[in-house]
Amino acid sequence: MGGCHSDVRGGQQAVGGGQRSSGNAVTNSNDAAHNDAVDFFFRSHGLQGLFTQVELSLSASKLLDRDITSKSDPMVVVFIKKNGALQEIGRTEVILNNLNPQWIEKVPVAFHFETVQTLVFRVYDIDTKYYNVPVKTIRLSDQDFLGEASCVLSEILTKQSRSLTLYLKDGHGGSTNLGSLTVRAEETVASRSVIELVLRCSHLDNKDVFSKSDPFLRMSRVVETGGSIPICKTEVVKDNLNPVWRPLHLSMQKFGNKDNPLVIECFDFNSNGSHELIGKLQKSMADLEKLYSEKSGANFVIPSSSRGGYEKALKGQLFVDHFVQKTQFSFLDYISSGFQLNFMVAVDFTASNGNPYNPDSLHYIDHTGRLNSYQQAIIEVGEVIQFYDADRRFPAWGFGARTLDGNVSHCFNLSEIPTQPEVEGVEGIMGAYANALHNVRLAGPTLFGQVINKAADIAAHSLFASTNKYFVLLIITDGVLTDLQETTEALVRASDLPLSILIVGVGGADFKQMEVLDADNGQRLESSTGRIATRDIVQFVSMREIHSGETCLVEALLEELPEQFLSYMRNRDIKPIPLH
């Protein structure tokens, strides 16, 4: 909706050149999608090459104009069809006042050769008041719908150009012209290389009448099949003909390789969306590195309108003030070099699970050997975590039950030996669980605080000895929390420790509270004292969804863990131990 000047700030921010997990900020991007923890699990179980990771670049033309005083502010949301239902897999950024947008944020998707993967693309006009908020948090129902299109992923990948143009429809079979959407798919190159660079310009042309230009840069990668894909844009520097932009962090995945030509365009920001080109030039990363080492500038050119196809050289120059190539290590780099994941298990023994002697209880003890919901979860989840655990020894606790001494405990050892919380392997957890079920009486309330604090304690204490351990607390619960605030406090305190918390929900309860704790909606957890969670350390998985086939267990469990692990290590600049 634009119009009012103070509202256009959203369009002036940098996109695509940010540093992943820099500091504590909640990141906006879809960068995290390539999950090598999942790949590795499958590969080591003989399921190699089941899928390839691809990323989708999106652009549109002739979108419908929904705004009265200005043009639409479009964003695309990509869904995948699973069992008839749509599951969101990613969002682009919002582009301001533009009916022919070329989005920078890519949407990653795993291409499974053997299945038909139907993708649905929905384009929305985002309301002004949502600028500057993480796109993940935008409620789609509050936005104007600009149309949708659908295709099968393999349709794009089998095209020689790897791109497909689709006409947007209104979803009700109407035939108005809503414009078109072009989807390009490219295989993701896994790469550890990241280039950090600072760009500045001098003597740019002045495009504004009453003040100086408000320049920003856009970088696009030239692709073999023709055209170019935008990979990042800088923030807008206002009223300045010699701007210096903030550092850009570009992964090899974004720019291809160091010799791949990049188009660098400098624009004068205009709040009505028609940014005026100040000048452009084409350089590869290798060229930029040379500019840096020689401390020389490259002149911008501008296509001349009068002398057809001729380019006019400008006085304005681009300089590279800083150029460093860094290695960004992957989750597997850490794990294979001796970093240890240590799992801990906590089982919910509260009365809301139902009397264990009653067949519809989640804790039902069946003497025929049929597994109850908790046992099923322990076995299925255990197989995955055991694979990544360094020594297969798990501290195992229960909570919310009356123990032998008659008091309700919110953290007791499952094993028979009171001084020894650790059990060995999945069998160990199963044995200790069955044993505890006979020895305790289910009670309540459901409090996660104590087990989280216990796990935090262990994680914090490990730091006195070494920094190469990372802990994961697995909480298996029916999901009805009594004290959300206490749990939140414990999570906020634990958020800066080498610890992640995996909550596995069993049974048919409503898991709304768990979704709050798993801060995926972009809302960071806040304690009553005003401390805010440094990072999201919670991941919630519902066994009900797993069993109904909506998600794959391994993918669901390991979805956020590698990113949580890496955010901890990278923030502290902890590197994998070099192999000798």
Binding site: R9, A25, N132, V236, D457, A465, A490, E526, N571
Partner: protein
């Protein structure tokens, strides 16, 4: 030797960034900086970051400040300030960071901690978030006198910058770290 001064300790605080900072319901456009001081100090003893000119409500400073923290100080006062056109400086929002959040011995000293806090304006209304990292500088000698009553934890072979141990001359290899009843804190 620096350890003679047991009335304060040094902390390194990196002011990373701010999020969603507003003035009168609108994101702050520019010219914001952060000051940090202990609650026992007055404003003149604050240390400040440079001004971020193109904040757009989400400023980034990434600037390391060194703060002298008196031993019985309970809070760090973190203020986000704005320089308006008439060079006047207004406080936009404040966070009081409990010293106990990073110094209670729950973690090894010298461990880099990332902490985020809710900022509030003068009326106590929420106004954004500030992201910090904090490192308590080890000063050999200080802890002996102060923490002698507390339980001694495991010695730690953490790599310590040599220069920080004034006059220690490399004697300190496994620096003892004290865990100050962290169980009680949780």
């Amino acid at each position: 030797m620096a350890s003679a001064n047991i009335s304060s300790r040094t902390i390194e605080i990196t002011v990373i960034s701010g999020e969603n900072l507003q003035v009168r319901g609108k994101l702050i456009k520019s010219d914001v900086f952060v000051t940090v001081r202990s609650d026992l100090h007055n404003k003149n003893d604050s240390v400040s970051t440079k001004i971020d000119r193109d904040a757009a409500g989400f400023p980034r400073w990434n600037e390391k400040l060194v703060v002298d923290l008196p031993m019985h100080s309970r809070f760090l006062v973190v203020e986000v300030c704005r320089r308006s056109s008439g060079r006047k400086i207004n406080i936009v929002a404040t966070a009081r960071v409990p010293v106990a959040d990073f110094i209670a011995g729950y973690l090894p000293e010298n461990h880099l901690q990332f902490l985020s806090y809710r900022l509030r304006d003068e009326r106590g209304e929420r106004n954004g978030i500030v992201n910090l990292s904090v490192r308590v500088k080890m000063a050999a000698g200080i802890e002996h006198s102060l923490l002698q009553k507390q339980r001694i934890g495991a010695p730690v072979p953490l790599p310590m910058p040599q220069g920080k141990f004034h006059g220690g001359g490399g004697v300190v290899t496994g620096v003892p770290i004290w865990s100050v009843g962290y169980r009680g804190r949780l």
